[in-house]
Subunit: 383 residues, 2 copies
């Protein structure tokens, strides 16, 4: 197997792109990544997208985007694992280069969510859950997150206010990211009284669904060194799964897929959590951030929330998270989210993160979850 | 890169499985393939599925199917390229084993189509096309096939009756396949007068959409030799794309994606069309069969139909196609179709094809198309 490096990144602002269709949104990220790598084509394009078929009646995005980007004929296809689609796409691009089957591969995440509103959007998002045993009873992702949060508060004697700093930190970082959807600051003392979405999850707690596209370009580490000044090495790539239905999990507060994929990644790279300088995690709600930190070994069971209250997740903390705003402030464009995470870690490791820079970052980690953690994808990156 | 072999295959009958949901249908194929390989688990499951999100409001099938099959935690995800999803899934499974990243991988194709009928089903299928420039104007896959067929007849002076033997052959072969959806025979003289679907494509011409699931299990060629008596080697794996919208193609009667992926596959295996003993092609309508044969080098431009009229596509012909009935008689369960093709070629190369056996088959080929050929996946297999 060949070592794999990232030589180009691109992203659109995350937000409500009513003036752009899926293909136009995708094109912006594709073009930006090609420009960043100094290339004009690649050998294959892997598209991460969750809801194109459901929202835009547009499946078959691999061929569509590839043609629209001027690369007609090039190998392309779409991968999907709910809002872990982008992470899984990165895994596939990695395999393609690692196997020697392709020299240069683009991994593109793209999602157009805001064409649906209200209950229609919730129905589309419910396709990430178990359709027959969860969605059929009216469950939505945020409703299930609320059940997990309530259970966590009960088990560990934690209050809603104890989760506040996850969002405060995310917005503080996102306020400095020109591509973030919500750049306002959140005050900790206002957190607990924000309007409820699904009790106890509130508006300041849950990440916004959004439109966006992000892309990275991969090639062999050997070739990368000749092409760009600061390639970023992919040290590990791993996927884990869990029961899709939360009620089928014997221990719902343990994100098994997240734990498995993190362990697999640590083993591949022969490192542990203490070696990680920053983590882009899947903070679709604050409870998911806390559970992810525990699953990845940054905190013991029931202790993840303390990383927030102690502000160890801040840019100068022991494990900075959501350094460009995370899902909460940058936004959650489902199938693109995992690729945004990779773009952000690459910028950090290149030292190009501007006001969001984590000083001295050497090893970065991303963890992208699908739904309530039915799928988890973990990647480790090094300078 | 490691050489890759298939050590297990499984399939459900293709048809209208109203009593089974997506997961139950999938489980039958998963279990059959595991039994066939003598295994009880694999390292990863790649799911090919086109319309789970649209038809069953069920995305995130990788985790769902893996858990339901008793392999909770195992790496899994879904890939999609319209009705080439199964072929692309096989490509991904191949890469995973070839790269050494996984030892044993299951590639599963599953589709539940018949829960939608009439215009709802046509709308779902239209997501395989360019949503904004084809589907928005009412085009459906069969309507576009009709335009291609009309153009072909005009360009080459061919009549509807000249396509009859594609369907006659498919049904003759399918009549001996217990898993085929339509096992009736078609008489050539009745072909031209069958009820029209989209003039000139008629009921005897177009393949039925259907429910079904099929699975294959891959491992390294070295390990395969220790596990099963007759492993089948994957000699080549290639994907090509084309403009999704047919009107964007400068030469619509040339299936560029099909041609590109076939050329890439021939190069990988260092063989040519003359070396191929049987071809499972994407006969979603007879015109697609004729164009595929031309794109793959089995006939010159405008001559593909002659392979049917001369019956060179029959079981004793120079290039047998649709040996278990093809899409026309076995049925087209979109995301599963590419995996059915692989299962059928494996049975042929093992000499386990029963009444459908092609004598002395050494090299088999599959070509799976997405939509009107926006994506094409070609695999070559050897004993």
């Amino acid at each position: 197997m060949q070592n794999v490096s990232i030589i180009g990144v691109g992203q659109t602002p995350v937000g409500e792109h009513w003036e752009l269709s899926l293909r136009h949104l995708a094109l912006q990220a594709v073009q930006a990544a090609l420009d960043n790598a100094g290339l004009n084509k690649v050998d294959a394009i892997i598209v991460g997208n969750a809801l194109g078929g459901v929202i835009s009646n547009q499946n078959h995005l691999g061929a569509l985007v590839t043609d629209f980007a001027g690369m007609r004929g090039t190998e392309a296809f779409r991968v999907e694992a709910a809002d872990a689609s982008g992470g899984v796409a990165l895994r596939q691009g990695y395999l393609m280069v690692a196997s020697g089957m392709a020299q240069t591969v683009m991994v593109l995440g793209v999602e157009k969510v805001t064409d649906l509103i209200g209950s229609q959007r919730q129905t589309a998002m419910a396709s990430f859950l178990d359709a027959e045993y969860e969605a059929a009873h009216g469950a939505t992702p945020v409703a299930l997150a609320a059940l997990l949060m309530r259970r966590y508060m009960h088990e560990y004697g934690v209050q809603v206010a104890d989760f506040a700093n996850f969002s405060v930190n995310a917005h503080a970082n996102g306020s400095k990211n020109a591509n973030a959807m919500y750049r306002n600051l959140i005050r900790a003392e206002r957190f607990s009284s924000a309007p409820l979405v699904a009790d106890p999850v509130n508006l300041f707690d849950v990440a916004p669904e959004a439109d966006g596209a992000a892309a990275v370009i991969l090639t062999s580490a050997e070739r990368a060194a000749d092409l760009v000044p600061h390639p970023v090495r992919i040290l590990a790539s791993a996927v884990g799964t869990d029961a899709l239905a939360v009620h089928d999990r014997p221990d719902p507060l343990c994100l098994m897929a997240a734990s498995l994929s993190a362990q697999r990644a640590y083993e591949q790279a022969s490192i542990g959590p203490a070696d990680v300088d920053l983590l882009e995690l899947h903070d679709s709600s604050t409870i998911m951030a806390a559970l992810s930190l525990e699953a990845c070994g940054f905190a013991d069971r029931g202790e993840g929330w303390r990383l927030a209250t102690d502000n160890r997740i801040g840019t100068k903390g022991s494990i900075p998270i959501s350094t460009f705003g995370g899902l909460k402030s940058r936004g959650n464009p489902f199938g693109a989210t995992g690729v945004y995470q990779a773009v952000e870690v690459v910028l950090q490791l290149r030292g190009e993160a501007g006001e969001n820079q984590i000083e001295g970052a050497q090893i970065g980690m991303t963890q992208n979850l699908g739904g309530l953690g039915g799928t988890a994808v973990t990647h480790l990156f090094g300078r």
